[in-house]
């Protein structure tokens, strides 16, 4: 635990351990530690602070998921990895906005990280659909689904919260909600 008291940028292995252990303070130090580097990249290449936030968070999520799923291999410095992912993401964003002039001002060394950002992109699409479907689902279904499938609350708790007379009613309600959510989600897929 002594590591978590340290301030400043955590070491690369600290970061990996910290993410695996869901350490809030390592995540925070990681985030604060490398943000200026990314901010510098973005704002000096026709972006602003909000762009930097979006890009940086996307990169941190990529790193986070890779570490969590266990397929993260530290082949370079973490700093270089984060910079490279952000650079790649920002180039993509710039060309989507037709603002990419063909040159980018670099501040760090970087690696090729194409397929990682691609995979992330596919997941983002799925998540966006899920978010939209949940929004369309409306209350109380949204909360029931979130409570049960995301927050792992038991049917009994949900039953109490929503005042269902018995757990069976609540189960029926949850079943209907889930069916509707699937319908909404896959409808979007078709569109």
């Amino acid at each position: 635990m002594s590591k978590e008291i340290n301030s400043g940028i955590p070491t690369d292995s600290e970061v990996i351990l910290g993410i695996l252990n869901n350490s809030e303070s390592v995540l925070k130090r990681l985030y604060i530690g490398y943000f200026p580097m990314v901010l510098q990249l973005i704002i000096n290449n026709s972006g602003d602070g909000d762009d930097a936030k979006d890009i940086y968070q996307e990169a941190i999520i990529i790193l986070y998921n890779k570490v969590k799923t266990g397929d993260f291999e530290l082949s370079s410095k973490l700093k270089t990895y984060i910079y490279s992912v952000c650079r790649r993401l920002w180039l993509k964003r710039l060309s989507q906005m037709n603002r990419y002039g063909g040159d980018i001002k670099d501040f760090q060394e970087y690696l090729a990280v194409d397929d990682e950002t691609e995979r992330q992109n596919d997941r983002d699409i799925q998540f966006n659909k899920m978010g939209d479907a949940l929004k369309l689902l409306g209350e109380p279904c949204k909360t029931i689904i979130e409570d049960f499938y995301i927050h792992n609350r038991s049917m009994q708790e949900i039953c109490d919260t929503f005042g269902y007379t018995n757990a069976d009613n609540a189960k029926t309600q949850k079943y209907k909600c889930l069916q509707r959510l699937k319908k909404l989600f896959f409808q979007q897929n078709k569109e």
Partner: protein
């Protein structure tokens, strides 16, 4: 078994809440029934997507909370490379700037082109030999060719490409005009007030004072009566009432005015500046004072100030006449020394002058 109950079974199965017996039974069902198997897989996939979505939301919230603690603006100031304002302007707007610049350059070029600045850059001095419009010119050439096809009708009046005015310096056919009117000409014709055209040749020309002397060589030319005007040898004073007569067009035109300066274009001391509306075609016209003395020969005008013309002083005209080599003269050139105009009214003066002032037509001048 309803779908609802099946779903509950699946969830219990996936969550590991089944007893060993139930589990075995369910797995057999799953193996036997493809539909059930598919539902299990699909459900597993879908619920894990919901779960991951939830985790993602939570992670984003955590990151946002961390982000809110960062003073982004201070960092931005620190890490922003501040190129000079111009460089940043260029970097952010270079395409727009390029377009604007091209339009501006185009506009400037158009303006220069239409105001004639490009073609007339060095000269704001215009020689007054009139160029007959190209269209007219080609028509005349065509009609000339047609006439040439008919035998015996050659040498008829045929307007030249280049036109100016000339006036007699002696009664036996010597005429003076501007060099720029006849320079480079193949043939020169002079036309008198009564419309008769005579062949002439250039016997002497001086580029610098812009003076040329012609001799009418046409056998049909009959000597004029003695000249009524003289050539003034001394300089004339500013303010003198002067006038010019010439052929800016096809008619004989009077240009009255005043002598306004003792030097011409760009302080050229060999010329006078006169406030006369000189027109193209007035080149070579005589400039006379009120008593009928020739004091100069019109040779240009200021293009930017309307109504300002220039005339070469008569002393330089006389000098040029003196310079004519003796062997160029087929006939004696006797300058007149008796003034017959001094006492006449302007109307009478002009009536007399009309016989001594010629339209000069030039053919084949470098066009």
């Amino acid at each position: 078994m309803s779908d609802n109950q099946l779903l509950e079974l699946i969830e219990r199965y996936l969550n590991g809440e089944m007893t060993k017996e139930e589990r075995t039974r369910f797995e057999i069902l799953r193996n036997e029934n493809v539909e059930v198997n598919e539902t299990v897989t699909e459900h597993k996939h879908f619920t894990s997507l919901i779960k991951q979505y939830g985790e993602r939301l939570e992670l984003e919230q955590r990151l946002n909370a961390i982000h809110d603690e960062i003073d982004v603006e201070a960092l931005e100031d620190e890490y922003m490379i501040h190129p000079s304002f111009v460089v940043r302007l260029w970097r952010n707007h270079h395409s727009k700037i390029s377009v604007a610049a091209s339009i501006a350059i185009f506009a400037v070029l158009c303006t220069l082109f239409f105001t004639g600045y490009l073609t007339n850059r060095e000269r704001n001095y215009m020689e007054l030999s009139g160029k007959i419009k190209i269209l007219e010119n080609s028509t005349h050439q065509l009609s000339g060719k047609i006439k040439n096809l008919e035998p015996g009708r050659r040498n008829n009046i045929n307007p030249g490409n280049f036109r100016g005015t000339g006036f007699a310096i002696s009664s036996n056919g010597y005429i003076v005009t501007d060099y720029h009117v006849v320079g480079g000409a193949d043939s020169v014709y002079v036309q008198s007030a009564d419309g008769k055209s005579y062949r002439a040749k250039v016997i002497h020309s001086e580029v610098a004072p812009d003076i040329a002397v012609l001799e009418i060589t046409d056998p049909e030319f009959k000597n004029l009566s003695p000249l009524p005007y003289t050539f003034k040898k001394t300089e004339t004073d500013i303010g003198e009432n002067v006038f010019t007569v010439g052929y800016p067009g096809d008619v004989f035109v009077l240009g009255p005015g005043y002598l306004t300066a003792n030097s011409g274009f760009q302080n050229d001391s060999t010329s006078y500046q006169v406030s006369i509306t000189a027109n193209p075609g007035d080149s070579g016209a005589p400039l006379l004072d009120s008593k009928g003395n020739v004091i100069g020969i019109i040779n240009g005008k200021e293009t930017h100030i309307e109504g300002t013309g220039f005339a070469r002083k008569s002393s330089y005209l006389l000098k040029a006449i003196d310079n004519i080599p003796a062997d160029s003269l087929n006939k004696p050139l006797n300058m007149n020394s008796k003034n017959g105009l001094a006492t006449l009214s302007r109307v009478q003066q002009i009536k007399k002058l009309q016989n001594y002032v010629f339209m000069v037509r030039v053919y084949g001048k470098g066009l």
